[in-house]
């Protein structure tokens, strides 16, 4: 691409604008190949380092075990097929990709590398999106913020569907931006395809389609007109049809329908304000402040760019706030849009580096010398400062934890992998275990290759995931020899003390003998001490 072409690109996005976007002023360095490639490459390297660093230091958590288990079933692992059905609750695009990776190398790393790779790709697409909307400095800042954001790093390091969904979501957003000023039919069709891939990663991406639809109806601009929307919507629906059609072709319709009914009727798992109390620290208060600043400073002149990003962010945020089922990672797709918004003030500050302040800041009492010394480094310092506030918690949270508890979606289950591997090596084939809850059951099933029941699975179909089997009378089940081992774990004990006590009662009643104890080191007043997190008891009726 020639410099003049790039200039055309930057200029063209201003065409349908009611006010000018951030104008990029170029230096010799930024025009050079090194200037074009080095900064985004450095950001991508940082993103990759954080996403791949000590990737398998902790084992899978419950959700990861489920998705990787399904991928293993797709890869032909017969023993896991019965415990992790292929057609379970979600579309299978990501599981299919992971299955290919597992065929090459059957390790935890292979599965996590797929989603971590999608995480890095999302950072690159965020760079393109930011650059397309507000110039390269904004793209770079947005990508930098996303690269180190705890929320995005943490989720994309896990085998969850939300990372790939977010990646396809950003691609879709980028295509919409291209549709505004360039070949709207082609690009809106491409946007529909990308959004379809997002929905085939996880069906909740349908909510993102709602955000784009709101934008298209109320804020279509440039070459993009409401009449183009059906094209994108049509492509999206055709692609997304693979989900229900695939389930139907595989003859697993009842599983899908049961899961849908359960999702619609199940009780709320978190309070209404869950996201407002949990996510600010994960996204970063500084990112939220900068994004708000970008909107506030232009409140009277919000253009289609800001409207697009706001629609993309607000619609899912509102939807999942009122949707009874909440998950930590559900709002991940809004993170790239927030970083692009947060990058706007940084990019504007970068444009003052030659000493030219915006009109409203001209009256600031800054001498020419101060301006000359401060303004060239202000934007990089601000960007790096904000990144530092994100980097520290990210570093801490991606280091192996010594906690005995965790929030679903935030990391591995303490001691789960080691216990599962012990089960695989020591427990006779055909033996069944009974744990406190489905989280520990999933992890032990994945690593242990043995069925694990869960005490806390409700007998009421409205209160349980349809793929879980309840144990209506655990006492009878143990007495009848259905289970030969009971599993106590600190995670279930902290979440549901009742079932931990029930399990303890069964252990006492049926001559429980501890045959395995998994511990994690915890700092105490008397020094580091191993605290049991998982204990497996052999029981005899």
């Amino acid at each position: 691409m020639t410099p003049s072409t790039r200039a055309n690109w930057v200029l063209r996005i201003a065409e349908p604008e009611t006010h000018a976007p951030v104008v990029t002023t170029r230096t010799a360095f930024t025009r050079s190949a090194a200037g074009r490639l080095l900064p985004p490459s450095a950001v991508l390297a940082l993103a990759a380092y954080l996403r791949f660093r000590q990737l398998t230091a902790v084992g899978f958590n419950s959700d990861e075990a489920v998705y990787t288990g399904s991928a293993q079933a797709l890869a032909g692992h017969r023993a896991l097929e019965s415990m992790f059905p292929i057609f379970r609750a979600h579309p299978i695009l990501v599981q299919l990709i992971i299955a290919q990776a597992l065929r090459i190398s059957d390790t935890d790393w292979s599965a996590r590398a797929v989603t971590a790779g999608f995480g890095v790709l999302a950072v690159w697409l965020t760079y393109l999106l930011g650059a397309r909307l507000y110039g390269r400095a904004a793209g770079l800042a947005a990508a930098g913020l996303l690269a180190v954001m705890p929320y995005h790093v943490l989720v994309s390091r896990q085998v969850l569907l939300d990372g790939p969904m977010t990646c396809f979501g950003v691609l879709s957003l980028y295509c919409v931006v291209r549709a505004v000023d360039d070949a709207p039919r082609r690009w809106i069709a491409a946007a529909g395809a990308a959004l379809g891939l997002a929905a085939l990663s996880k069906e909740t991406a349908v909510v993102l389609a709602g955000g784009l639809f709101v934008f298209g109806v109320v804020a279509a601009t440039g070459r993009l007109r409401p009449r183009h929307l059906p094209i994108g919507l049509g492509v999206f629906l055709v692609v997304f049809s693979a989900y229900p059609l695939g389930v139907k072709l595989a003859g697993a319709s009842s599983t899908g329908q049961n899961f849908l009914l359960w999702q619609l009727l199940r009780r709320a798992n978190h309070p209404l304000w869950f996201y407002f109390t949990t996510l600010p620290s994960a996204i970063g208060p500084a990112v939220l402040l900068l994004a708000a600043l970008a909107l506030i400073t232009q409140r009277s002149r919000l253009g289609w760019r800001e409207r697009l990003l706001v629609c993309w962010t607000v619609v899912p945020a509102l939807f999942f706030t009122f949707w009874p089922v909440k998950g930590y990672q559900y709002l991940l797709p809004v993170a790239p849009a927030l970083t692009v918004l947060a990058a706007v003030p940084i990019a504007r500050l970068w444009n003052t580096r030659h000493g030219v302040l915006p009109r409203r800041l001209e009256r600031l009492p800054l001498s020419r010398g101060v301006r000359g010394a401060l303004l060239p480094v202000a934007a990089p310092l601000l960007a790096l400062g904000v990144m530092a506030t994100l980097f520290v918690p990210t570093w801490q949270q991606t280091s192996p934890s010594t906690s005995t508890a965790f929030l679903a979606g935030t990391g591995g289950l303490p001691g789960g992998r080691a216990a599962g591997q012990w089960i695989a090596g020591h427990i006779p084939e055909g033996a069944q275990l009974l744990g406190g809850g489905p989280s520990i059951a999933n992890v032990l099933e994945y690593y242990g290759d043995h069925p694990v029941g869960a005490l806390s699975v409700s007998t009421d179909p409205r209160d349980r995931n349809p793929v879980y089997h309840p144990v209506p009378n655990p006492d009878l089940a143990v007495r009848a020899g259905e289970y030969q081992y009971l599993v106590w774990d600190s995670f279930t004990a902290a979440r549901t003390p009742y079932f931990a006590a029930e399990l303890r009662r069964l252990v006492d009643r049926y001559h429980g003998v501890a045959v395995y104890t998994g511990t994690v080191p915890v700092s105490t007043a008397i020094g580091a001490a191993p605290v049991p997190v998982i204990i497996i008891y052999e029981v005899h009726p």
Partner: protein
């Protein structure tokens, strides 16, 4: 986590470990001639071999064209599956079994009932792996005996006396005053200092043969030791008779004796309704042994005490000690048992006695066990002990509906995904390529200028 909570968690964890630490394995017997240090023998109710294994692949099952005459007419009844039926045989007695055997011709299994104006159709029924998941799975993984006979054609009391003493001095009745001095394998074990126990399901210590009279259906008929005055009067000996729950406790506590006999009760599979429960009992007993510390040093045999009127093709064989009863199912499970083997050695409950006597160096009880073939041939002691593989039982919950990866239906779904994803890639590529072309064409005039 606060410091107090951490310390509390540490203390709780240590307490959990301390309370449930494994106990040391109790010394359970003297030296053995084989790696089998623990032998358990469960006796179930009345079933014939063909009733349970007549359709088992590779076993000496139903002969081709088998059809039992109904009576003097031309009609006959072929073996038929009892799949899903709750079928039972009532009013079985010695004369009826003798009519079935018909002097070794084995042609009266239907006519014996017809003679009593009853239908004999059911006697020709058989079960298969769906109804007998535990027995069939064990046979597939370990050793099935297809020439294992009961001692007597008919009678719980007689067959159970032979089970422990290799003799039934008064046939199917307990002699007045009990068996008195008839020696049992447990006397031999006791004298040799080898630990033993007799586990009784739903054990009622008050219900003894000497107290209950001659009711052949009661607990004493199933547990011959309760027909011995010395096993009732001597607290030391009586202490060896315990409820079956103690078997599981002994497995957990490390106190499993060297030799254990087990008499089931309501789960003995004698009635059609108790088959599933009986399979579950066997499954639990075997699986619990498998998950215990004893798996590598034990063997568990179960057999059925008599045919119960069910069809079996094989005539009772004659031995030096007398004529045996009809063929019954018998399965041996052990880490040393040959894998998936069908053992055609002529065997009977005395074969187990013979094995015990050989293994612990005991003298035979009678000529029957002295002449019996031992179970030793069913083991492969040259091989390392096999890892346990738990037995399945009757289904208790509906399994999750799964579709295999190799299923063509899964293939169709995956192909659909592949086609649509490829379509998406094409759409994205077309949009990018068109834009690239357009940008190049816009750039060219600028480049020329």
């Amino acid at each position: 986590m606060s410091r107090f909570r951490k310390l509390a968690a540490l203390a709780a964890g240590c307490a959990l470990l301390a309370v449930n630490a494994p106990a040391a394995d109790a010394a359970s017997g003297s030296a053995t001639t084989t790696p089998i240090k623990h032998f358990i023998y469960l006796m179930q109710g009345a079933r014939s071999f063909d009733d349970y294994f007549g359709s088992y692949p590779g076993a000496d099952g139903f002969p081709a064209g088998e059809c039992q005459k109904v009576g003097s007419g031309s009609g006959c009844v072929r073996p038929h599956s009892l799949d899903g039926q709750s079928a039972g045989l009532a009013g079985i007695d010695g004369p009826l079994i003798a009519h079935e055997v018909d002097g070794g011709r084995m042609d009266g299994f239907v006519s014996a009932f017809a003679q009593q104006d009853r239908s004999g159709q059911t006697a020709m029924g058989y079960y298969n792996g769906a109804e007998l998941p535990t027995d069939w799975a064990a046979a597939g993984q370990y050793v099935l005996f297809d020439q294992f006979y009961s001692d007597d054609e008919f009678g719980t009391t007689a067959n159970r006396a032979d089970w422990v003493a290799a003799a039934d001095p008064d046939g199917n009745r307990v002699p007045t005053g009990g068996y008195d001095e008839l020696p049992t394998i447990f006397d031999r074990l006791q004298a040799a200092g080898v630990s033993w126990k007799f586990y009784v399901q739903d054990y009622n210590p008050k219900n003894t043969g000497l107290a209950a009279g001659k009711n052949a259906d009661d607990q004493a008929a199933r547990v011959p030791l309760l027909d011995y005055a010395r096993f009732l009067d001597d607290p030391e000996l009586r202490g060896h008779i315990e409820d079956l729950s103690q078997y599981y406790a002994d497995l957990a506590d490390g106190t499993l004796p060297a030799v254990a006999y087990v008499a089931s009760s309501g789960e003995d599979e004698q009635s059609a309704h108790s088959i599933a429960a009986g399979q579950r009992l066997i499954q639990t007993m075997v699986n619990q042994l498998m998950v215990s510390r004893y798996w590598d040093s034990s063997a568990l045999l179960w057999s059925y005490d008599q045919s119960g009127g069910w069809f079996d093709q094989e005539a009772p064989p004659k031995t030096a000690a007398g004529t045996l009863g009809l063929r019954v199912p018998a399965v041996l499970v052990s880490a040393y048992a040959k894998q998936g083997s069908i053992d055609a050695t002529l065997s009977d409950p005395e074969s187990a006695l013979r094995f015990i006597e050989q293994n612990w160096g005991l003298a035979p009880l009678t000529a029957r066990d002295a002449d019996a073939n031992s179970l030793t041939g069913a083991f492969d002691f040259a091989a390392a002990p096999r890892p346990a593989r738990l037995l399945p039982g009757p289904a208790t919950a509906s399994a999750i509906a799964t579709v295999a990866a190799a299923d063509p239906r899964t293939g169709k779904a995956v192909a659909l995904y592949a086609v649509l994803v490829a379509g998406c890639v094409v759409l994205l590529a077309v949009a990018a390529a068109a834009t690239l072309r357009r940008n190049r064409s816009l750039a060219e005039p600028a480049g020329r200028s």
